[in-house]
């Protein structure tokens, strides 16, 4: 029993059950990459690095998420599990340039129709 508990703790601490991680960089008020393909029905950890000297806000009505991204800092947002489809996001302070989307793809599909 204690051994089993030890194995579970080891797996948790080693990140075996961790959500897949996607890194997005914000530079010159642009999200790079602007389109991210992720597996549907899975929780995803978005790591957003703001390389601009000004703050930005990650905002998405589709994903129901909003978070201030401080200059030169790394921010984390969890999204999903998502149904297959496209989910838009944008920068609240620079909505004309800072735009992107998360494309959730069902297992076995390479792209969304």
């Amino acid at each position: 029993m204690i051994k089993m508990l030890g194995v579970v703790l080891l797996l948790v601490s080693s990140g075996v059950f961790a959500a897949p991680e996607v890194v997005i960089t914000l530079k010159d008020h642009l999200f790079i990459p602007s389109k991210i393909q992720v597996p549907a029905d899975k929780k995803i950890k978005l790591v957003i690095i703001n390389q601009d000297p000004t703050p930005e806000e990650f905002d998405s009505f589709d994903l129901n998420r909003e978070k201030v991204l401080f200059p030169g800092r790394r921010s984390i947002i969890y999204i999903g599990p998502l149904k297959p489809g496209e989910y838009h996001f944008f920068g609240e302070f620079n909505p004309n340039s800072a735009q992107g989307s998360v494309i959730a793809v069902a297992e076995g599909n390479d792209h969304v129709d």
Partner: protein, 250 residues
Amino acid sequence: MLINTLLLFVRDLMPVLMLLVWLLLLRPAAGGWRALSLALLCGVAGSAVLVVYADVITELADGAGMELVFVGLQLGLFVMVLLTLWQPKQMSTGVTMMALAIALMVNGANLIFYLSGYLYAVTSSQSIVLGALLGLGITLSAAILLYALASWLGGRHLPLVAALMLSLFIAGQLAHTSHLLVQIDWLSQSDPWWNTAEFLPENSLIGQFLAVLLGYQDTPGQWQVISYFAALLGCVSALGASRFKRKFHS
């Protein structure tokens, strides 16, 4: 940017003013101007600390630092409201004023984050200044109107009306806070229980006002609904315990 700034003031200034309105109606003495000034000063100082250290706080706890700080502060506010409801008359002014200081700290910091973001993004700050003035005017007018209306309609039941409105207010704040925990994966994500975004979007002027007044949400998940009703239950229990205690002693 004018509309964004206006909505920002409704979202972040209105909760502080609304809390002040319900607290003043519940406890008209509320420590007087000196206590109020001290609470405002503490709130502004707290906001300044959050803003200055925001970039450090945001990277704490694997990037969940800011959410956790906001959740901690909102829980602190909830406890202060519970204590105020439990012993509205005997409660020390300190608890009531601490509630106000915490609300100002959280909302003031948010207001500064967003205002600075808007100011960085525009070449002319004219629309932001105008939006801020309009937002300030609307929120102040709404708070004064609400105070007058509640005083007039409440009659001899005014303390009870104020207590119930305060309960709805804090329940809405906690429901919003629970969403922060979903965002950092401390609570599980769920499908919205309902979707009224097309009928009344939460980010509209009326939507924001109702969100602060009653805790309205256009697409709440399970944790938002659970935390809303759990907070309401806590408030009603505190209020019931307070009334029972008074009857028992009299």
